[in-house]
Symmetry: C2
Subunit: 189 residues, 2 copies
């Protein structure tokens, strides 16, 4: 089975990716806990740049993932800067900066960037989930995960309240990983 | 007179720096119009990283500058991401995300990063200006400069309405440049 090096310093992300890939027989993930610098750029550019950097360091096929959380009223913000937004203003602040906007819709995007190795082309696999920003009444204080204020389209609970098993069958990250598996299954490598 | 390579792709920034330095006899600026990648990081880290990259490319003493525009209510945002905020939501959006917050104070920060050359230490010079976010009634549409919504403390007009000559004697960028001149005048180089 093919081995792919998954580079992330985020252990929750690793855990979720492993759970989604539980029944995958196309490739085996090997985790590398490197923290890679992230550019000020679009989600695609950030992922490509991290993938190239990781491949240069590891010297082999690598996979990285980046997430964006986009408010439609804010034309793309917070986007790939969601981590900084949460660090600075928390979930309450995220809800408050939307106060003056009627449109509370948002999109969660997961982009995996994969390359066969250094100096090889980078392939992107993107999954999205539409939803709405909702301030849940039972929002725990100091909560740092945006999934607590994101209600996916067609559901009456927020992302954070879903069972992991259920979420891992519908999520933006799941959709992106299915595209990756499909690609690796059908590529001749 | 010492020569310093000033690396920026922003011609308005270049023009303003040249105007502020008009009477400077400590060093001579040589402009390099390179666009350097910017990290997702603090203003200081972004400036240091750009300075190191620029010194490696130019192979000589270089100076770079970065600006942050910080809303106190948003605990540091937009900060160094102000360019992206304006691109995505414009000045009107910047005012609107503050709607639900009483505190409309803001800080403009200019940070110059200077190094003698590749593999030399990087020195930072920082100037700030406190003020308030004000939506001017005559705000031109498609205006892209945050200075149109920033009224410096002690003034009754916004930054953009000030005469260049007046602003260049008080601004965050002026303060940072004075620290740089002072350093270069008193350093033994």
């Amino acid at each position: 089975m093919k081995t792919i090096n998954f580079v992330t310093s985020n252990l929750l992300k690793l855990q979720q990716v492993q759970a989604i890939l539980r029944n995958n027989t196309t490739f085996k993930l090997v985790h590398h806990p490197l923290e890679l610098p992230e550019l000020q750029a679009s989600l695609d550019e950030i992922a490509i740049n991290k993938c190239i950097t990781a491949a240069t360091i590891i010297g082999d096929a690598v996979l990285v993932e980046d997430t964006a959380f986009t408010f439609n009223s804010l034309n793309g913000l917070p986007g790939p800067y969601i981590k900084t937004f949460i660090q600075q203003i928390g979930l309450e602040g995220l809800v408050r900066i939307l106060s003056d906007f009627e449109d509370k819709t948002a999109v969660a995007t997961s982009t995996f960037a994969y390359t066969e190795g250094p100096n090889q082309p980078v392939k992107l696999f993107t999954g999205t989930m539409n939803g709405t920003i909702t301030q849940s009444s039972n929002m725990p204080e100091n909560q740092t995960n945006w999934q607590s204020i994101f209600q996916p389209e067609g559901y009456h609970i927020n992302y954070a309240m879903m069972e992991e098993d259920q979420k891992n069958k519908i999520s933006h990250r799941y959709k992106a990983l299915m595209l990756l598996i499909d690609y690796l299954t059908h590529s001749t490598i």
